[in-house]
């Protein structure tokens, strides 16, 4: 009987340690949120969203150019990445048992594991070196390289869930295969595909490493795509490692804004997925 007690005691001990482990896992999340909200709120003001960073010895300033720059680069990288990702996913789901399809799927998984700083180096070689300038286009290419495998895999998962009967019904009505793929399969999976798109956009919205030597960042306004452009994550990084208190404040404010943007995209994605 003693051994039975011992066994239950041991089991209880393990269960308690699991609960403690779970709490330890969630602690950093709470700390990070509390800190970002506390430090970030104090630096938010209308000026924060409308003006560009000020020199370190002046107080105030904002990240308006970074917000706009991030937006521009997200749009361009989506224009590059989404068609490739989605049409590639159509191929994978239409030929799902093919050897080539599973090879591509494997490549996409491996590509998704490539560190983001490497995509930055490759975009540097492909875009910055030939055009002899750091540029928003180079940053967008680097982000698109990260986006493509994510969109491809999530869109494929969604397309695969469309029931075969829908496809068969469409083909039986004499609709050509390609129109079936686009108008029936892709259309009925659209909600899920949009979820995947939004998640991938949220993912690259926070990327910093691939922009370090492609978009480079900019202290001023710039609307030229072939020139260095500011981006919010880059600003957070540069302000954080600077020795100036005023810029540290901007970094915390930028972090709060970035987190809010990313979580709202994530929430939007979830609500699309539920429909």
């Amino acid at each position: 009987m003693r051994s039975l007690h011992l066994r239950h005691f041991k089991s209880g001990l393990v269960v308690i340690s699991m609960i403690i482990a779970t709490i330890i896992v969630l602690l950093p999340l709470c700390f990070i949120f509390v800190n970002i909200i506390k430090m970030g709120l104090s630096s938010l003001s209308p000026e924060f969203f409308t003006s560009i960073p000020k020199p370190p010895d002046e107080s105030g300033g904002g990240v308006a150019n970074g917000l706009v720059g991030s937006g521009i680069m997200l749009v361009i990288s989506s224009l590059i990445g989404l068609p490739i990702g989605i049409l590639g996913a159509v191929y994978l789901s239409e030929h799902r048992h093919g050897t080539f399809a599973s090879f591509i799927r494997f490549c996409a998984d491996v590509l998704a594991g490539v560190p983001s700083i490497i995509t930055g180096m490759v975009a540097y070689v492909l875009v910055v070196v030939p055009f002899k300038s750091f540029s928003a286009i180079a940053g967008s290419v680097a982000l698109a390289l990260i986006m493509i495998p994510i969109v491809l895999r999530t869109a494929e998962e969604q397309l695969k869930m469309v029931p075969d009967t829908l496809r068969e019904a469409s083909l039986a009505l004499g609709v050509p295969h390609w129109r079936t793929s686009l108008k029936v399969i892709l259309k009925s999976a659209m909600g899920g595909v949009i979820t995947g798109i939004l998640l991938s956009v949220a993912r690259i919205a926070g990327e910093t490493a691939p922009l370090l030597f492609t978009a480079l960042g900019n202290q001023f306004w710039n609307w030229k795509l072939m020139q260095p452009m500011a981006a919010l994550p880059l600003q957070i990084f540069n302000f954080a490692i600077s020795p100036y208190d005023g810029w540290h404040k901007l970094a915390w404010g930028g972090a709060l804004v970035l987190v809010i943007i990313m979580f709202s995209i994530n929430l939007a994605a979830k609500s699309f997925g539920r429909r």
Binding site: R7, H8, K10, S11, V14, V15, M18, I19, T22, I24, V25, L26, L29, F31, I32, N35, I36, I84, L87, G88, V90, Y91, I104, F106, C107, D109, V110, L111, G113, V114, P115, I117, I118, T119, M121, V122, F134, L145, I148, P176, H177, W178, S181, L182, A202, G206, E207, T208, A209, L212, I236, F237, A240, I241, H248, A251, W252, L258, V259, M262
Partner: protein
């Protein structure tokens, strides 16, 4: 009649073109992968030719004299990633087990979505938090204590700087926890319920049930999760760059600043003026790429082989 055949051919042609188009777009993935490997190799050739194996074993990194040895960066990357794995694996697996085996479904759902949030936070924000909150905290509390009481052990020798190998490993472990927890959670969920019921029916306690019927079944999947976490940790750039101290030295002490492969690229690449410096950084990138490709291919094959086995329905 002729009109009809024309239409039919037309239809087939449309299918053919569409198929070709989608095939082309799917192949872009392969092209990207090949271009990445090829460009990185091409750009690092000057450094490879000049330094050969010295690059991997020398710790002399001096852009002014044109000397480049990557050992301190390799050491920093390997040690910080392994430490992160050691911290994150038990915590991640325990969380996954708690969600699946112990908590009620509702609490489990809340916890797993919180862990998902942890994965959604960008690297630079972890870095910001690390540099202003975690590193000062380490410097004021944990590190002085370690240095005072365990300073005779080489791992904890030296002055508390805050930014250190310890800070880098801690921030990495927080960042890879969600990956390890999420994948372990999926594999554990895939363990057939009958396995658990069999153990319970034999009178097993909760822990014995987990040990006898859950863990052996999920073992290789969890290993895959850990390896994927390792791949993520080695390539992680921003957060580590901000807290590890960026000092290219090889020190046993966890309190000493260190440097990693992605960090040196992040800090020096934009300012590398000489061809050799640029090429040396490219070679570090190539090494990093090689390591992450190997790690990812291995982990994917492992996870794929498990799902194939489970589809076969052996048990």
């Amino acid at each position: 009649m002729p009109e009809k055949t024309f239409k039919r051919n037309d239809l087939l042609k449309g299918d053919y073109i569409f198929r070709l188009c989608t095939l082309l777009f799917a192949s872009v993935i392969l092209v990207i992968l090949v271009v990445i490997v090829w460009q990185m190799t091409k750009e690092s050739l000057p450094a490879i030719r000049k330094f050969r194996w010295d690059f991997l074993v020398s710790s002399d990194w001096n852009p002014v004299d044109g000397k480049f040895g990557a050992l301190p960066y390799i050491y920093g990357s390997v040690v910080s990633s392994i430490l992160a794995i050691i911290i994150a694996t038990p915590l991640g697996v325990a969380t996954a087990l708690f969600i699946t085996e112990i908590s009620s479904r509702r609490i489990g759902r809340v916890i797993s979505s919180l862990v998902e949030l942890l994965a959604a936070i960008p690297s630079v924000i972890y870095g910001l938090w690390g540099i202003f909150v975690m590193a000062p905290w380490l410097q004021q509390t944990i590190q002085p204590w370690l240095s005072d009481h365990l300073g005779s052990i080489p791992f904890f020798a030296g002055a508390p700087y805050g930014v250190s190998m310890m800070a880098g490993a801690l921030i990495l472990s927080i960042m890879i926890l969600p990956i390890i927890a999420a994948i372990s959670w999926e594999v554990i969920l895939a363990v057939p319920q009958s396995q658990r019921e069999a153990a319970i029916a034999l009178g097993a306690t909760k822990w014995e049930m987990i040990r006898i019927s859950v863990l052996p079944y999920a073992k290789s999947g969890i290993l895959g999760a850990v390896i994927l976490g390792l791949g993520r940790a080695i390539g992680e750039t921003m957060a580590v760059t901000m807290v590890i101290g960026n000092n290219p030295q090889i020190s046993l002490s966890l309190l000493a600043p260190a440097y990693t492969m992605p960090s040196v690229i992040a800090n020096e690449f934009a300012e590398a003026t000489s061809t050799l410096h640029y090429s040396a950084l490219m070679e570090i990138g190539l090494l990093l790429l090689g390591i992450t490709l190997l790690v990812n291919i291995f982990a994917r094959l492992l996870i794929a082989s498990i799902s194939r086995k489970q589809k076969g329905g052996v048990h």
